[in-house]
């Protein structure tokens, strides 16, 4: 056994030219045509900073249980929690058990959990406590002996961005982020916000890249972990019938909506400093846009997809007159789903004169041949009538209709709608004859619902993303250049909005009038999502 250890230390696991990729090819039992064998990560540990937070309790730990339940975790796996609590391993394990039991998506099975017992380690401490990080480092090293984990670990930053520098410094000091030193891979997972503007995002990126190598940095945009979002690839590139019309010859405009019915909840401090554009538009909405508008990638490699996404993001152009094409709003009191709700200024910890937007609608163009002259309307907001995220591709009218005007009066444009959440699926809207002796036409919809055709077992976004981190697959993670390109879109908006007051809209309505006028100016209207 001792011999093995020295062998491991002397010869760190063979690295492929591109670091951070899983190496299933060398395994004689893995056969690409054998699709029943799931991809399982190498033995590794997941270290969670901020493990007492909501994200860890509601998403990360339950996702780990779900992965275990689906048999997707390696036999050697450990979870390390780090937080400023006076806990021992047992307390952490108990908390994790409660969290997994109440939030897991798959049915609870005691024996699945039992196999994770003994794999939970807790290291108490604050972020500037050197001793605590030394302890964390030695705990990770001990896993080699106790759990057969040869140095592989992913660090999940479930902490406010202000704390990043401190933690990164500590990881650098203890060499915990050093692949060579650890004899395995070391990856880092960061959550949005990736900065608050282009400059701060660059600083953050530099900092993270300096400690970890760029390929080992995983930025989570949980929207990309959703099945429907991945289905955009399948829909566009695996079918013959959509791609030929996916361009300015046939598409009139595209609407991307991400609506929430809730208010800002307990995020007052963060939200008021950022607003809807930084919170949602910069990441989720622009990622959806990139997937909708990108060219076909050469292959389905992370790098190949990244190249195409980046091209689209860089081709985005804001309107020349932002007064008419960049609208923001702030909710006032009103009723949402039959309940009275307070206005933004009345929310706890929000200054009464706050000019932060809770709604943003922007018209952009994409400067390339495919999308020349096609406006993309993006909107996101809180306290809207319902929670819905969708991408609607609205087609041009038929060039000629051999029907009388009065027959086609209520006929709208054809639409293809990708519903991201809830009721994930795809809907196509087209005109059809109303039964009867006259030739009257009306719009009808034809739907495909994930819930109907492939029900139930679609994994939670975090489940998929955590697995991908452990496997080293970066396909679903935006990289630093994408983040940079997205800030390049949002920064001029923020600059334009600075010092102005957002337009008020009543809670429970579809946002400010300005947003409606933005579309009406060109004879269009928002689709009621």
């Amino acid at each position: 056994m001792g011999d093995d250890k020295t062998a491991l230390a002397a010869n760190p696991p063979t690295r492929l030219p591109e670091p951070g990729r899983a190496t299933p090819a060398q395994n004689p039992l893995r056969d690409p045509v054998d699709r029943r064998l799931p991809r399982i990560p190498e033995p590794c540990a997941l270290v969670i900073f901020g493990v007492t937070g909501d994200l860890a309790k509601k998403k990360l730990i339950p996702a780990i249980y779900d992965l275990a339940n689906r048999g997707l975790l390696p036999a050697s796996f450990a979870i390390l929690g780090f937080a400023r609590r006076d806990w021992d391993h047992g307390t952490f394990e108990e908390m994790a058990r409660d969290a997994a039991k109440s939030h897991a998506r798959t049915p609870w099975r005691e024996d699945v959990w039992n196999r994770l017992t003994g794999s939970f380690k807790f290291v108490p401490g604050s972020f500037d406590d050197d001793a605590a990080f030394d302890k964390l480092s030695s705990t990770l090293d001990d896993l080699r002996e106790s759990h057969g984990i040869p140095g592989n670990a992913a660090f999940y930053f479930s902490i406010p961005p202000q704390a990043f520098p401190k933690v990164l410094k500590q990881l650098e000091r203890t060499k915990m982020a050093d692949n060579e030193h650890c004899g395995g891979w070391r990856r880092v997972v960061v959550e949005k916000p990736f900065g608050t503007d282009r400059e701060s995002a660059r600083e953050l990126n530099d900092l993270v890249d300096q400690v970890f190598t760029a390929p080992d940095v995983f930025r989570i945009d949980h929207y990309l972990g959703k099945e429907t979002v991945q289905n955009i690839f399948a829909l566009r590139f695996a079918n013959a019938m959509f791609e030929p019309i996916w361009n300015s010859n046939y598409v009139d405009h595209v609407q991307i909506t991400m609506a929430e019915d809730v208010g800002i909840g307990s995020r007052a401090g963060f939200y008021d400093a950022n607003g809807a554009a930084r919170d949602v538009l910069q990441n989720h909405v622009l990622q959806l846009l990139a997937l909708t508008a990108m060219e076909q990638p050469v292959g389905f490699d992370a790098e190949e997809i990244r190249i195409e996404k980046l091209k689209v993001l860089r081709a985005i152009k804001l309107g020349d007159e932002l007064e008419a094409t960049a609208i923001r709003g702030q909710y006032t009191d009103g009723w949402v789903q039959g309940r009275p709700v307070a206005g933004y200024h009345a929310e706890e910890n929000i200054p009464a004169d706050s000019t932060t937007e809770t709604y943003a609608a922007v018209q952009i163009g994409i400067q390339n041949r495919r999308w020349n002259g096609v406006p993309f309307y993006l909107r996101t907001g809180k306290r809207l009538p319902k929670r819905v995220t969708e991408i609607a591709v609205v087609f041009k009218e038929a060039p000629h209709m051999p029907f009388a005007d009065y027959d086609t009066q209520i006929l709208g444009n054809n639409q293809l709608v990708i519903r991201v959440q809830p009721d994930e699926g795809v809907t196509v809207k087209f005109g059809s004859k109303v039964p009867g002796t006259g030739m009257e036409l009306r719009d009808i919809t034809m739907g495909f619902g994930y819930g109907e055709t492939f029900t139930e077992s679609s994994p939670e976004a975090y489940e998929r993303l955590i697995l991908d981190v452990l496997l080293g697959d970066k396909t679903l993670f935006p990289d630093s250049h994408e983040v940079d390109a997205s800030w390049a879109v949002v920064d001029p908006l923020e600059e334009f909005w600075a010092g102005t007051k957002p337009e008020a809209y009543e809670s429970g309505t579809w946002g400010p009038t300005g947003a409606d006028l933005m579309l009406q100016a060109s004879g269009r209207r928002w689709r009621r999502a």
């Binding site: 045509v33 495909f448 029900t455």
Partner: protein, 314 residues
């Protein structure tokens, strides 16, 4: 809805009415045609309703009833969203010559242009239906462990294999295989010897041996062992061990409760759980792949060659 002494036309009309009553549209992923007996009906229904949560399908469940009857007769039960879950289901009870002409009954009832999967727990050879079912099915699922001579039944299927054949005995070793495969991640030495402790009469054990043989190029030694199982749909495998060319060993061993221990040279002992899945879960895994399973085909070929050798020996 129950229909007695009926025709396929009437059955389809009843189904259309039911669909219309709940709002009309449905998006089906496939047709599942199952052949079973009255005794096994409940088990099949339970599995089917569970699998339907993942793959909405039209289920056509054919149950041969009074096979000796002179006159053909079809009784049918048509349900939607009831005890058979999300599936559109037609349960057929067939008398006399009707069974032998199952194809003529099933063909007009298939949902158009979505794949057809047949699944039988009983031996279709008994009803002379094997060829008939082959003609229209894209995939055919059998469960050789349920046959009177399981390994022989699998061997017969291996001899007559056509693309699209599969067996639940293969499905039920997926978790085992996945666990073993993950042990091999990072292993650099070639395997010299494979030892399997398993019930030789279990087709799953045979397939496990054939899989390892195919992938590693080493003929595993199967030591016939009595294996206690806490679930019917588990393979009768107690342990799989490997000896590498440098003398190191690796072993995966499962006890009767499902606790599974991994012993690997240079690493501490690790625990896993390997539990049996329900028939519905196995069926759902099977339905996930509609194209022919090439990996299974290769393994089945290896099994066939080795099995014919064993037969010649004895």
């Amino acid at each position: 809805m129950h229909l007695e002494d009926t025709t396929t036309g009437e059955i389809m009309k009843a189904l259309a009415e039911l669909i219309h009553a709940v709002g009309g549209s449905s998006s089906l992923a496939l047709n599942l045609v199952a052949l079973t007996t009255e005794d096994e009906r409940e088990e099949v229904e339970e599995a089917a309703s569970q699998a339907a949560q993942e793959h909405p399908y039209r289920l056509i469940l054919a149950i041969p009833r009074d096979t000796d009857a002179e006159k053909p007769r079809i009784d049918a039960e048509v349900t939607l969203g009831e005890r058979l879950g999300a599936a559109e289901a037609v349960i057929l009870r067939l008398d006399g010559p009707a069974t032998a002409h199952l194809t003529s009954i099933v063909l007009p009832m298939l949902a158009p242009d979505v794949p057809v999967v047949t699944w039988w727990l009983l031996d279709p050879v008994r009803y002379g239906l094997e060829q008939e079912l082959r003609t229209f099915a894209d995939r055919r699922i059998t469960y050789s462990a349920r046959a009177t001579d399981p390994v022989e039944s699998l061997y017969r299927r291996a001899q007559t294999y056509v693309a699209g054949d599969t067996d639940i005995c293969w499905t039920r070793i997926s978790l085992w295989r996945s666990l073993i495969a993950s042990c091999f991640d990072g292993v650099t030495h070639a395997v010299e010897k494979v030892d399997i402790k398993a019930d030789r009469r279990d087709p799953s054990a045979q397939l496990m041996a054939a899989w390892l043989h195919t992938r590693l190029g080493v003929t595993p030694e199967v030591v016939d062992t009595k294996v206690e199982r806490n679930s019917e749909h588990l393979p009768a495998i107690a342990s799989v061990g490997f000896t590498m060319e440098n003398g190191e060993t690796m072993e995966v061993e499962r006890n009767a409760d499902g606790e599974t221990v991994l012993r690997q040279a240079g690493l501490p002992k690790r625990r896993q759980t390997l539990q049996g899945r329900t028939l519905g879960q196995l069926l759902a895994e099977e339905l996930r792949h509609i194209d022919p399973d090439t990996a299974y085909r290769r393994v089945l070929d290896t099994f066939k060659e080795n099995h014919s050798l064993t037969v010649e020996d004895s």
